[in-house]
């Protein structure tokens, strides 16, 4: 009988349910079909006017009734859709009976509501008028959308998770952090299973402008589906996107005991903070290198055992260069023969959701034996010598994956996943 413990005597963590929604569609099947045929979900923005903006494209999720109801409502819905798919696949009913870890964006009152409140009063000006409207009771219906805990609280009720849910934000690494929190809780023996969700429905004019002012976004608006081009010489920024993904994490022992199908193993997690700069990485890549090494050590594996890297691969000049530096440092010359692809070439950067979305795609890569390509790879960056699985999917026997997530604020988190428990 296989062991239920890892190399450090901790419970092995299985994934028994997965769900995903991105601009490519809702559900694993739809996403996987698009992803493996190299289809892009990036399109011209229609949710709000783009006058005066330098970037006019995004990977927004526009096909839901909640798509125009603000970031709190859409983030909740993306999380709920992914969560339902994951919980159903895991064969768990309406009582999840384990903790919830949610990665979601920081919440703010939407401009639509701000402006509507302003119109509802004629006393005073500026914030004074908003306060007057609030005192008249015009804010009650929108109060919840301004509370950072609302999305997780609603999900906790929806899925019957236990205790106070945790909402985490580690910028673009949030989704990986939510998974790590779940893994750690099960390893501590606090629960047999945990629900980890990453969701981000925060694309608004203001958020696009904020990223744009930091020169982070691609401005290749003419052909939206071609704009996200990780590792290419002519990459010029990431494409803002939305999405959600959920994973049911469960001790392997519990999964086997209840006869659940094991979809993969979450072998190890690593994280390391960078103290160099608010948006830039330490030039020597040492924090990202450390995060990769810590994840491998946590998994009890050497770099030689990694079959595929699901890259952070944002398509910003800075990230892709730094990611190549850190991977080539850890893997040495072998990195040139390890496939490294970026899902973001097709779905854009789903921010708080990215780590979870890409973990689901990593697990599917192993299960399906197919590596999704890095599309739009027509002009290789000569400084980045990687096998990026250019433009076309590749059949491959993938037993292990390293998935990277790096974010503003010095956040670096890496996950190591395996197809089999061994």
């Amino acid at each position: 009988m296989a062991s239920y413990k890892d190399h450090l005597g901790r419970p092995l963590i299985a994934v028994t349910g997965m769900g995903v929604v991105t601009s490519l569609g809702a559900g694993k099947a739809e996403n996987w079909a698009a992803l493996t045929s190299g289809k892009s979900g990036i399109h011209a923005v229609t949710r709000f006017p783009v006058d005066h903006m330098k970037t006019t494209i995004a990977g927004t999720v526009d096909f839901l009734p909640e798509s125009n109801e603000g970031m709190s409502a859409l983030t909740y819905e993306l999380a709920a859709i992914a969560g339902r798919e994951a919980v159903a696949q895991a064969g768990i009913g309406s009582d999840f009976a384990g903790p919830l870890f949610l990665a979601s964006p920081p919440i703010e009152l939407s401009w639509a509501d701000r402006l509507a409140m302003y119109r509802s009063s004629d006393k005073g000006a500026g914030y004074q008028r908003l306060f007057d409207a609030a005192r008249a009771g015009h804010g009650r219906a929108i109060f919840d959308e301004t509370q950072f805990g609302t999305v997780a609280d609603r999900l906790a009720v929806l899925f019957g998770t236990r205790g106070l849910p945790v909402t985490t934000s580690t910028a673009c690494a949030s989704g990986a952090t939510a998974i790590q929190l779940g893994v750690e809780a099960i390893r501590r023996g606090e629960a047999d299973r945990a629900l980890a969700i990453g969701a981000d429905g925060s694309a608004s004019a203001e958020s696009m402008i904020r990223f744009s002012l930091l020169s982070a976004l691609s401005m290749q608006n003419d052909r939206p589906e071609r704009a996200s081009k990780p590792f290419s010489r002519d990459r010029d920024g990431f494409v803002l996107a939305e999405g959600g993904a959920a994973l049911v994490l469960e001790s392997l022992e519990s999964a086997v005991a209840r006869g659940a199908e094991v979809l993969g193993i979450m072998r190890g997690c690593g994280e390391k903070a960078d103290d160099f700069h608010r948006t830039r990485s330490k030039p020597d890549g040492s924090p990202a290198i450390a995060a990769v090494k810590l994840a491998l050590a946590d998994a009890g594996m050497s770099e030689d055992e990694i079959d595929y890297v699901n890259a952070h691969g944002t398509s910003t000049p800075e990230n892709d260069k730094m990611e190549h530096l850190s991977l080539s440092t850890v893997f040495g010359p072998r990195i040139r023969s390890v496939p490294v692809s970026s899902n973001k070439s097709m779905i854009g950067h789903t921010l708080s959701a990215a780590g979870a979305v890409e973990a689901v795609f990593s697990l599917m890569t192993m299960r399906e034996g197919v590596i999704p390509p890095t599309i739009n790879y027509d002009q290789p960056d000569p400084a980045i010598d990687l096998d990026v699985v250019p433009n076309v999917k590749r059949d491959a026997d993938v037993k292990t994956v390293l998935s990277n997530s790096f974010g503003f604020g010095g956040q670096n988190a890496c996950l190591v996943m395996a197809r089999e428990p061994v």
């Binding site: 006058d51 920081p106 401009w111 000006a125 914030y127 906790a156 990223f211 002012l213």
Partner: protein
């Protein structure tokens, strides 16, 4: 006594009362009312403002200070106080391996930009275009970084060189509860050896007050004591301040000769549906799960919110309550870390904080097991037991 006990070795506190563990202990030992307030700047709301702070004492580089607004500066400053207090500030090796969990909301918006857009919107019927026009021209590019929730932690890494792990939790009082609970669980299980945990809240910005007042939570009119806010409004008086703790395993603290204030024994949390029938029972059960006994000293993070605080008072009337927010105002994400810090100070000083109201019964013994609560003004509940080391 166990080598895996989670001990408090550093306390950083800032509130309207001032800064530092020692100053706060004095202020709570013999409290005087009313505490520092400002009832004019945001009238009809009263706030407990920040004290005078020389930011450069904890954030030496002006360039770093400029990259932050007050909320992030406050968190970085308070975290620095805790590191100093623990004697770890200059220990590069231990800072480089220190884990961190920050309970955060969001940073300050640009008030002028917001108000210009609001006013201009009355004369326009293309508000979407108006927004783009104003935001693209008027927003300061780096302001976004001063607003991002996880950039309080990011700035702590940059300024204090804390580079183990960096996690930010969100969700009002519950964020502080989960941050503390997760930190304690990681230490107790051997997943970490030393962790910086805490949060800060900067209330002196209209958008931060609006976050409460949309649901009518703020107390209006002149200042009133915490447990007796009978006037207009929802009962919450907010404050600017923060609380950070350095937590270590006993083994780790003793090996480096760190001073131990107290042990964080247990942290519990809940998400009560808050129905009329069950809310008081849920609060009592949460505190009961800590093995609480009637008469015990309980440092409450009650917000003043009419319903939540009234229910807490009803549920926990058998304990010797101390509502610290009566002196500091509600510090949102920092409520439970602040309460735990005060509990540790009471234990290490062998004395209970002074009473602030009739509902707060005297406690004359040297406290050895102190309860703390953070019952969210709107949602989420947490409690912790702090005991003598």
């Amino acid at each position: 006594m166990s080598p895996h006990d989670v001990v408090i070795t550093g306390i950083g506190l800032v509130s309207c009362l001032g800064e530092g563990a020692e100053l706060h202990w004095k202020a709570f030992k013999t409290p005087s009312l009313p505490p520092p307030i400002d009832s004019e700047r945001f009238a009809p709301y009263t706030v407990h403002p920040l004290p005078e702070i020389d930011w450069s004492l904890q954030i030496p580089k002006k360039g770093d200070q400029r990259q932050m607004e007050t909320w992030q500066r406050l968190g970085v400053y308070t975290a620095g106080l805790a590191l100093d207090d623990a004697g770890l500030k200059t220990d590069e090796a231990l800072c480089a391996t220190m884990d961190m969990i920050v309970a955060a909301g969001g940073g300050e918006r640009d008030e002028d930009v917001d108000e210009n857009i609001l006013e201009a919107s009355l004369a326009r019927n293309d508000n979407g275009v108006l927004l783009n026009e104003k935001l693209t021209n008027d927003l300061r590019p780096t302001l976004f970084l001063a607003q991002l929730s996880n950039l309080m932690a990011g700035n702590i890494s940059i300024v204090h060189k804390i580079t183990g792990s960096s996690r930010t939790f969100m969700g009002e009082e519950g964020a502080g509860v989960s941050a503390l609970q997760t930190a304690v669980a990681r230490l107790a299980s051997g997943q970490s050896t030393h962790i910086l945990v805490g949060g800060a809240f900067q209330t002196e910005h209209p958008d931060m007050l609006l976050g409460y007042e949309l649901a009518g939570y703020l107390h209006r009119g002149s200042w009133e004591p915490l447990w007796a806010r009978s006037g207009d409004g929802g009962g919450v008086i907010t404050g600017s301040g923060g609380a950070f703790l350095v937590l270590e395993t006993r083994e780790h603290a003793e090996a480096r000769g760190g001073r131990i204030y107290a042990v964080v024994d247990t942290v519990v949390s809940g998400l009560s549906p808050r129905s009329e029938a069950t809310f008081a029972g849920d609060i009592a059960a949460l505190v009961g799960a800590l093995g609480a006994e009637p008469g015990q000293l309980l440092i409450s993070g009650a917000s003043g919110a009419n319903r939540a605080t009234g229910t807490e008072r009803e549920a926990l009337g058998d304990f010797s309550l101390r509502g610290f927010s009566g002196l500091t105002g509600h510090l949102k994400e920092a409520q439970l870390p602040f309460a735990v810090a005060l509990a540790a100070l009471a234990i290490s000083n062998g004395e209970a904080p002074g009473v602030l109201a009739d509902v707060e019964t005297p406690y004359s013994a040297a406290p050895e097991r102190v309860l703390t609560t953070a019952i969210g003004h709107h949602r989420g509940e947490g409690a912790a037991l702090v005991r003598k080391a």
